[in-house]
């Protein structure tokens, strides 16, 4: 056991994901020895993120303002909406630089065994948005696992009567992989979603 402040720092660090007692001790001593200005900056960053960041009122992405930068951007296509599970997924899609619409963050996926159903997600908010805004296409970008697929199936059932074009992200072979190691379902999907060559989109 170390003296008060050092031990409490180790205990706090040890509660972070992926950090065990030894790593916590190593990081704590690094903080102790590092320059004061750097570590104050780290402390400020943590304080800021807990006090300033909240969820965007429109799309529920993390944001510093009431309405996030993506929802405020007037150059974006307001007719397109991409439904994702988590805020991290928004960043992943933004990195591709191929999508120019808006988002809706559900906050998870339907998982009956885990007790997560439509009421625990932001499905009602999604339906309200579809009524108010002029959206022509909804892209379902939930994870390509079973829960994500089930969420997409549920949303399809809810949204088809609204009369909006619905689409689902394609699934297929990962770039940088080998065909022989692809699992049956993925390979099967890749066949279903194959493209004609020699045609311009």
């Amino acid at each position: 056991m170390y003296d008060g402040a050092v031990q409490s720092l180790i205990d706090e660090l040890g509660r972070l994901p992926g950090i065990g007692p030894k790593s916590a001790q190593r990081i704590a001593f690094h903080i102790l020895e590092a320059s004061e200005s750097d570590m104050i900056a780290l402390a400020d960053a943590i304080t800021d993120v807990k006090t300033k960041i909240r969820l965007c009122e429109i799309c529920f992405n993390v944001s510093e303002h009431k309405v996030c930068a993506i929802c405020r951007d007037e150059h974006r296509d307001t007719g397109l909406m991409c439904v994702v599970e988590e805020s991290q997924d928004v960043i992943a899609i933004e990195r591709t630089r191929t999508y120019n619409g808006r988002y809706h963050v559900l906050g998870g996926a339907i998982n009956p065994i885990g007790g997560i159903g439509p009421d625990q997600l932001r499905v009602r908010e999604l339906l309200t948005r579809l009524q108010d805004e002029s959206i022509s296409e909804v892209i379902l970008a939930t994870n390509p696992n079973l829960e994500g697929e089930a969420t997409a199936t549920y949303l399809t059932r809810m949204l088809s009567p609204v009369g909006i074009t619905l689409s689902r992200l394609a699934s297929g072979l990962p770039v940088g992989g080998d065909l022989e190691y692809a699992d049956e379902v993925t390979l099967g999907r890749a066949f279903e979603g194959r493209r004609k060559l020699g045609e311009t989109l």
């Binding site: 992926g18 339907i110 009956p112 065994i113 885990g114 007790g115 997560i116 159903g117 439509p118 009421d119 696992n145 079973l146 697929e149 089930a150 199936t153 549920y154 059932r157 990962p174 940088g176 992989g177 190691y181 692809a182 699992d183 049956e184 379902v185 993925t186």
Partner: protein, 267 residues
């Protein structure tokens, strides 16, 4: 002079027993994936009901990465062949192969998905502390039920209810619908009681027991033995009552609420 003894090429020393995925100690089995838990950055704990080893919990490393070799083989409801390496605590999954890809057939329909979720949740509860004797029967029952759901052999709720009755029978909570569960008088009785374990006759029925029409009792009998022609002809109101009784009966004896059932009620 220590440095002279070191070999020049720095190949890592051969791993000792007990680390890595040493295939020689591994064993093979196959089973239905019940559920998964996230573990660390990209791993998952997989709960499997196997054909010959009962319920197993095993670690699948790196399964959440898009380039993982496991891909869809370890998603819930999948029937998968597994190669496992025993470790202290939990086994590690080395290789997998899909036998039947039920998962993707079940997610096409929301009600089917809900029924399948309730099935695997029940199977997980019933086989949790199992030594393997009942496990094989529970496995065959679950596999049959999931396959029937994937084929759309009957209404999802009816398949689920029938599965629940039979799974409880295997687990030792057999309900009785053709004789009074207290005094054993044969015949059609219309009082349904969860604590008594099925129907009870007029004399045995405790106060506040539910009274149901003949149709519900006949439907419950048919569901227990799998008489599908009778089930298919059942009235909608009767199926509702039978389903809710079986759900109550299950949760009474498991002493636990089934999350899937309450989530599916949301719509």
């Amino acid at each position: 002079m220590k440095s002279l003894k070191k070999p020049l090429n720095k190949t890592p020393r051969k791993r000792s027993r007990g680390s890595g995925t040493y295939i020689a100690q591994s064993y093979r089995t196959h089973g239905i994936i019940l559920r998964t838990y996230k573990l660390a950055e990209a791993d998952r704990i997989i709960v499997v009901l196997t054909a010959d080893h009962g319920q197993i919990r095993a670690v699948a490393k790196g399964v959440r990465r898009t380039t993982s070799k496991f891909g869809s083989t370890l998603e819930p409801f999948m029937h998968t062949r597994l190669q496992l390496v025993p470790r202290r605590g939990m086994d590690v999954i080395a290789q997998t192969e899909t036998i039947h890809s039920y998962g993707m057939m079940l997610t096409n329909d929301y009600d089917t998905f809900g029924a399948a979720s309730a099935m695997v949740e029940t199977a997980e509860q019933l086989t949790r502390d199992d030594d393997g004797a009942d496990g094989a029967t529970q496995y065959r029952l679950l596999h049959g039920a999931i396959a029937a759901l994937a084929r759309r052999a009957a209404a999802p709720m009816m398949l689920l209810t029938s599965y629940l009755l039979r799974a409880l029978t295997v687990a030792g909570w057999a309900p009785r619908f053709s004789e009074c569960s207290r005094c054993g008088i044969e015949g059609t009785h219309n009082w349904l009681s969860e604590p008594m374990g099925g129907v009870v006759c007029d004399d045995c029925a405790p106060p506040q027991t539910t009274y149901v029409p003949d149709g519900v009792v006949l439907l419950l009998q048919a569901l227990l033995v799998g008489e599908w022609p009778t089930v298919d002809q059942a009235q909608f109101a009767d199926t509702r009552q039978a389903t809710s009784f079986v759900a109550e009966y299950l949760q009474y004896h498991l002493e636990k609420n089934l999350q899937s059932l309450s989530v599916m009620d949301q719509g």
